[in-house]
């Protein structure tokens, strides 16, 4: 389904359009809505956002490409992003990141065979006192170790096995 004319998003889109002085200012929130609908910022989403804001799709795509939270390719159902920046790395984040990829059998930026987990690393997420940490679909999970992470993975696998369960 599209985001334009979709009753699920209509109120939110209008709210964003109302709060800025220009339509163009709403490009970031609308790209988040497109990502929510399609799971990534796909060409349909780019075109719809451009149409709503009277922008050229190229202009919208440049915004999507500049900011790291917009994904320009499909991801697993759970996008795990480990902070490996200095404060986290001092507390073992690099080793944790390597272990997590091995545990899930993925390369950096890759997705597990069951399509559930994509793993990559990110820069500082402002959670340095709770290292190691990562975000899963932009929700923080902190003070991680292998045991706690195995429990989380099991929980997400069980959640994904439920019928009609949405993203994250």
């Amino acid at each position: 389904m599209a985001i334009m004319g979709n009753p699920k998003y209509e109120a939110r889109i209008n709210q964003h359009l109302a709060k800025y002085e220009t339509k163009r200012s709403a490009v970031m929130p609308l790209l988040f809505i497109a990502q929510e609908e399609y799971g990534w910022v796909n060409p349909d989403g780019i075109n719809e956002v451009a149409q709503i804001l009277n922008l050229d799709p190229t202009q919208v795509k440049s915004i999507a490409g500049f900011y790291t939270m917009y994904s320009e390719k499909p991801k697993g159902k759970y996008w795990l992003q480990v902070c490996t920046d200095l404060p986290c790395a001092l507390k073992g984040a690099d080793e944790f990141h390597a272990w997590l990829k091995e545990e899930l059998g993925v390369q950096e930026g890759g997705t597990s065979g069951d399509g559930l987990f994509t793993v990559d690393h990110v820069m500082c997420l402002a959670a340095c006192d709770k290292a190691p940490m990562m975000q899963c679909n932009f929700r923080y999970v902190e003070n991680l170790d292998q045991d706690k992470t195995r429990e989380l993975l099991a929980m997400w696998r069980a959640e994904a096995a439920q019928p009609d369960n949405g993203r994250g």
Binding site: L53, L86, D129, K130
Partner: protein, 416 residues
């Protein structure tokens, strides 16, 4: 006493009734009874300086706004992305009304039409909470038309970034908010000037912690605020401690407390008792590294005293490293951060961070030469001061100061 992290002392202060019962909005009531220019004078007299890192006097910044301009804005910098910084997050999570009150006082003082709170995208849940607070305030008549019956109108909005450190730089933040790439602007015109701010209107851009200080300054008075801290660095500061300490976290102390008080009394000293401290980055990845000598430990954490030991207090994001840490590896980590976060606009930063990263990787791999160490110092020195924003200088700092203080850490990788 906490002025900022009051969520630790007062249960449920994130609820409006609790916040108001504990003195919330008393500062704003006082401000609304004053002339806008008087409010600016009070903030000037308090000596409050910007808590985002630069330390610019807040009241002076507000006074740059041309009063005759019909449209003005306040933009709150809640992009908190400096490596090692996690203070604004706690303010907004645990004491959100204080930030909004401070923002509204600023808005009244410059007669702004609206406040935009620019949050890093990962803080979407904090944005949701702030939106709820804003709606609650609207119902009370504290946001919107005729605020508190004082005849002043102002809207407050939140905006989410989407993962770009550079948007913490004020002109890049404004571009991002307008729907453009988050890249710094050529200045002048400065944000406070017509043509330089949000939608080309005069705009104050202040950090979350800065504005969260303002309600106290109005309700208790400039003298009460100045009584805390040192002569040139007034008030409390939140210090974010991370790395090799026993108790990492946020600590709110007066400016002028010493690094020793913070790192030993508050943060519990070295993580492992048998591994003494080696060095710290006192202002996240961007400030100059200093060795943790006794002299440094006994230095007061103020703008002026940190300048004396060759560093800055900046955002006070103190990353602590013990003796096991190889400073070449630290330089590499911080360089990878800036390489990733360089917006690509200015050549010295875009190319410089790329080459620094490449050569440091070579040094760490054992393929470097003593000339490579000189080369990265040379590249870094040629980046500093040559870019539109401070990111170029920030990226040069970890190289220049790390080599200066820890030459042996580099030499060990390049000797045959």
């Amino acid at each position: 006493m906490h002025i900022l992290l009051r969520g630790r002392d007062i249960k449920n202060i994130k609820q409006f009734d609790v916040y108001e019962k504990h003195g919330g909005f008393a500062g704003m009531k006082k401000a609304l009874a004053m002339e806008p220019a008087e409010v600016i004078d009070v903030v000037k007299a308090s000596g409050l300086r910007g808590r985002g890192g630069a330390g610019f006097p807040t009241g002076v910044k507000w006074s740059f706004i041309p009063q005759q301009e019909p449209v003005k804005f306040v933009t709150v910098n809640a992009d908190e992305s400096e490596t090692g910084t996690f203070k604004d997050r706690e303010i907004m999570e645990e004491n959100p009304y204080q930030l909004i009150e401070g923002s509204l006082i600023c808005a009244y003082a410059i007669q702004a039409k609206a406040v935009y709170i620019y949050l890093r995208g990962e803080f979407w849940d904090i944005g949701d909470q702030l939106d709820e607070c804003i709606e609650a305030l609207r119902e009370k008549g504290y946001v919107g038309k005729n605020i508190m019956g004082a005849g002043y109108d102002c809207e407050v909005y939140t905006h989410l970034g989407a993962g770009a450190y550079i948007c913490g730089e004020e002109s890049a933040l404004l571009n991002s908010l307008e729907g453009y790439l988050g890249q710094p602007r050529v200045r002048p015109p400065f944000p406070a000037q017509k043509g330089g701010g949000l939608y080309k209107e005069a705009t104050v851009v202040n950090n979350v912690e800065t504005l969260a200080n303002v309600p106290f300054i109005l309700s208790e008075g400039a003298d009460a605020f100045k009584a805390i801290g040192t002569e040139q660095s007034t008030g409390n500061k939140i210090y974010c401690v991370s790395g090799h300490v026993k108790r990492p976290g946020n600590y709110e102390l007066p400016m002028g407390a010493t690094f020793r008080q913070l790192l030993y009394e508050q943060a519990g000293g070295p993580l492992h008792d048998d591994r003494p401290f080696k060095a710290m980055l006192p202002s996240g990845g961007s400030g100059p590294m200093v060795p943790l000598t006794d002299e440094v430990l006994d230095t007061p954490m103020s703008y002026e005293d940190c300048a004396n030991i060759g560093t800055i207090i900046g955002s006070a994001s103190i990353i602590v490293m013990d003796e096991t840490v190889d400073m070449t590896w630290v330089a590499s980590k911080v360089t990878k951060f800036f390489k990733h976060e360089s917006c690509g606009k200015c050549t010295p930063c875009r190319e410089g961070t790329y080459w620094l990263d490449k050569v440091i990787d070579r040094i760490l791999d054992g393929r470097g030469t003593p000339d490579d160490v000189k080369r990265i110092a040379d590249v870094a020195e040629n980046m500093a001061g040559t870019t539109l924003c401070a990111l170029g200088d920030f990226a040069a700092n970890p190289i220049i100061h790390t080599i200066r203080h820890f030459p042996d850490d580099f030499a060990q990788h390049v000797q045959a």
